[in-house]
């Protein structure tokens, strides 16, 4: 547990010193969400309809942007080697890395959603549903993306490969995440969407660290 917290604390502290990297994902999200209303015009009906889709696609792309760096720095400076050589379960330490990635790159998107929702004139209850789906969905993106990031570690052009690898995996998350708000506007319940997102999140959290650690061990061999 000590080691788990140490990794979490270390990654968050390092991020505080590298604000630009953390903020780039967030900034990208902001830019995407801001440009759409400007390009499409001020028809509020249209904006309200496309808001959930745009905010979700923005979150997805922004997380893809930051995923490449999940293990990169540790790999470069040799810290990853030392993680493999600690007597602790590597999966457990990888989970700490995934959680810190989500805290830095996923959670801010969730928090920012209501502000961007205002820009699209989303009503309050829609914003709540959108935040809820992002809250469940962004950790799935971090978990799945971590696997791709671990698999492509050390490859040139890994960034492109990551996008290709995670895209099919991200699609269901996008469909159900954005679908929840859609369903609300059609007057239907959203509970099914939350249940499905939850059903995706739990196995992702459970299996992703394990898959990542297997991929990382292969990288060293």
């Amino acid at each position: 547990m000590n080691a788990f917290l140490a990794i979490l604390q270390r990654d968050l502290r390092v991020a505080m010193h590298r604000k630009v990297e953390v903020l780039s994902g967030l900034f990208f999200y902001l830019v995407v969400a801001t440009l759409f209303p400007l390009a499409i015009g001020s028809d509020l009906d249209i904006l309200r309809r496309i808001a959930p889709g745009i905010l979700w696609v923005g979150a997805l792309l922004s997380s893809m942007l930051t995923l490449g760096r999940l293990f990169e720095a540790d790999w470069q400076d040799g810290s990853l080697e030392q993680l493999v050589l600690t007597p602790h379960n590597l999966s457990f330490l990888v989970l700490a890395k995934i959680i810190s990635h989500w805290t830095l790159c996923g959670l801010p998107l969730v928090i920012l959603a209501p502000v961007l929702g205002l820009m699209f004139d989303l009503p309050g209850n829609f914003v709540f549903v959108l935040m809820g789906t992002l809250l469940l969905g962004t950790p799935i993106l971090s978990c799945l993306g971590a696997i791709a990031s671990a698999l492509t570690l050390g490859l040139r052009g890994g960034g492109v490969l990551i996008s290709l690898l995670v895209l099919p995996l991200f699609v269901p998350v996008l469909v159900f995440g954005a679908g929840a708000v859609e369903s609300l506007s059609a007057g239907l319940g959203t509970q099914a969407y939350f249940s499905i997102l939850m059903a995706m999140l739990l196995p992702a959290v459970f299996f992703s660290p394990w898959a990542c650690s297997a991929a990382l061990r292969v990288t060293f061999e």
């Binding site: 080691a3 400076d77 080697e81 030392q82 600690t86 060293f220 061999e221």
Partner: protein
């Protein structure tokens, strides 16, 4: 190739560039696969109880595994937590002081010189409780006085029954039982 290392012994592996010293050490640390042969620890295959073995070794490679954004003190604290070694700030400060890093404890590592960073990485050894030290080119970028301090650290470790496995292109004058192993094709 076959060698054995007893408690209190050192082994200095020498050889030309590219002969496979680093590969050998990575294989001993389980970081690289072994095609043929086996690594035994206390007479048992290391894979029988890998966590136990990993607890008993400490590896310092070419990459120092230090975070440049954090201070030397923070880096060492993280290392101790990862190794499950109980520590207090005084221990960390002493380990850094051993390598003459007084006054540099709290500045980000990024602004230190290569040699100073290397010294911070070697200060980890002073905190590790592992008996077997595996050091791949530990002397790179060190000045003469640091090499002396480092040799002293190795000798203290050997005296209490530790083992040291190292490569270096420089000579290290170690007293106590040990030998030089030359690799050649």
């Amino acid at each position: 190739m076959n060698f054995e290392l007893n408690a209190g012994e050192w082994l200095h592996v020498q050889g030309d560039n590219g002969i496979g010293k680093t590969s050998l050490f990575r294989a001993i640390c389980t970081l690289a696969p072994i095609d043929e042969g086996e690594v035994l620890w206390n007479g048992q295959s290391i894979h029988q109880d890998l966590p136990l073995y990993l607890r008993d070794i400490f590896f310092v490679g070419h990459k120092l595994a230090l975070k440049e954004e954090l201070s030397a003190l923070e880096n060492l604290a993280i290392e101790c937590k990862l190794m499950d070694v109980p520590f207090n700030e005084l221990d960390l400060l002493q380990a850094l002081a051993h390598f003459g890093l007084q006054g540099r404890e709290r500045v980000p590592l990024g602004i230190l010189s290569q040699g100073q960073k290397r010294r911070v990485a070697l200060a980890k050894l002073k905190l590790a409780h592992a008996p077997l030290w595996i050091l791949d080119e530990p002397l790179v970028a060190l000045d003469a006085s640091s090499i002396q301090l480092f040799t002293k650290l190795l000798e203290d470790h050997l005296e209490i029954g530790g083992q040291v496995l190292l490569t270096s292109h420089q000579r290290i004058e170690l007293t106590g039982p040990g030998r030089v192993l030359s690799l050649s094709l």
